[in-house]
């Protein structure tokens, strides 16, 4: 149920943002607001982590899991990226393509 709210608020935000996109202040306020909301949430995440002895004790295990997952993401992206280069070579340049339209 939580997840519906998460996506729902995002979509409502996009809709309202579109509605008021001519007002420059809306864009500025959203950038500032997002920054502070992220700070607040990371602080709260820190608070609950610090209060959870299980996480504090298992921090190195979580670190290893994170390390493996990041290697996976990196490896996958790099291998497919290399494949893209092999297929298209140097033609991946945006500038060369835009004047073809």
């Amino acid at each position: 149920m939580d997840i519906l709210f998460v996506i729902g608020f995002f979509l409502v935000g996009i809709f309202l943002g579109r509605l008021f996109h001519t007002r420059h202040r809306v864009k500025l306020a959203s950038e500032k607001g997002m920054m502070w909301a992220v700070y607040l949430l990371l602080f709260l995440l820190g608070v609950s982590v610090g209060n959870n002895p299980q996480i504090v004790e298992n921090f190195h295990t979580l670190g290893w899991q994170a390390f493996l997952l990041s290697l996976g993401s990196l490896g996958g992206s790099l291998v497919l990226g290399k494949l893209l280069m092999v297929l298209y070579g140097t033609r991946m340049d945006l500038k060369k393509r835009t004047h073809e339209k």
Binding site: G33, L44, V47, S73
Partner: protein
């Protein structure tokens, strides 16, 4: 880099204050985090909706350029998913959600923590920080072994800001436009893709 330190210091401050027992109990209420997450998602949405540049980006699209963020999406989700086979505490879905952070650790970590709990949130935070750090530190090696696109795809969402300097330095100035494009598309997808992946139960 400076903003990364600020972001992390908020996380560190949270840990420090709660371990030192400095904080009132109501800060620990999970509802508070949920509401803050809703607020964040709303604000991110307003930012996306009101951004005129985003509309401009869609006009620039051509088939080959879309392939770059697509490669990052498939590679990150696939690669993380594959390695989840070796981590018995984390299932395929959770691994793919962590991979879908694309290096955007602050946003992906708080979304994942809000939906799946703090433990996976911490994993997402660390995994995506590691992604950024490896990209920054290993950039020359990555370019040598994986070609010009390497830093752009390994940087993921960060290719538009924090890892852009190493893209310019090691892949060349002409790749900057591609890096920014790919980074923006991926950054936009994080708040959409992460909840989407976690919505399958």
């Amino acid at each position: 880099m400076k903003s990364s330190l600020i972001i992390l210091s908020f996380f560190a401050a949270g840990i420090f204050f709660s371990m030192a027992d400095f904080l009132p109990a109501w800060l620990l209420d999970e509802k508070l985090s949920s509401y803050a997450l809703y607020l964040l998602m709303f604000i991110v949405g307003v930012g996306v909706g009101s951004d005129k540049a985003i509309v401009g980006i869609w006009r620039q699209l051509n088939f080959r350029i879309i392939l770059i963020p697509l490669v990052v999406i498939l590679g990150s989700l696939g690669g993380a998913g594959l390695l989840s086979y070796f981590i018995h505490q984390i299932n395929l879905q959770e691994a793919m959600a962590v991979g879908a952070g694309f290096g955007y650790y602050s946003l992906s970590a708080v979304i994942i923590a809000g939906i799946k709990g703090q433990e996976l949130g911490v994993v997402a935070l660390l995994a995506n920080i590691i992604r950024e750090v490896i990209t920054l530190v290993m950039a020359p090696l990555l370019v040598r072994f994986f070609g010009k696109l390497a830093v752009i795809v390994s940087g993921g969402a960060t290719a538009m800001d924090t890892t852009l300097p190493v893209v310019v330095k090691f892949s060349g100035k002409e790749m900057a436009v591609v890096a920014i494009f790919s980074g923006i598309v991926l950054s936009l997808l994080v708040p959409l893709l992460v909840p989407f992946i976690l919505s399958f139960s």
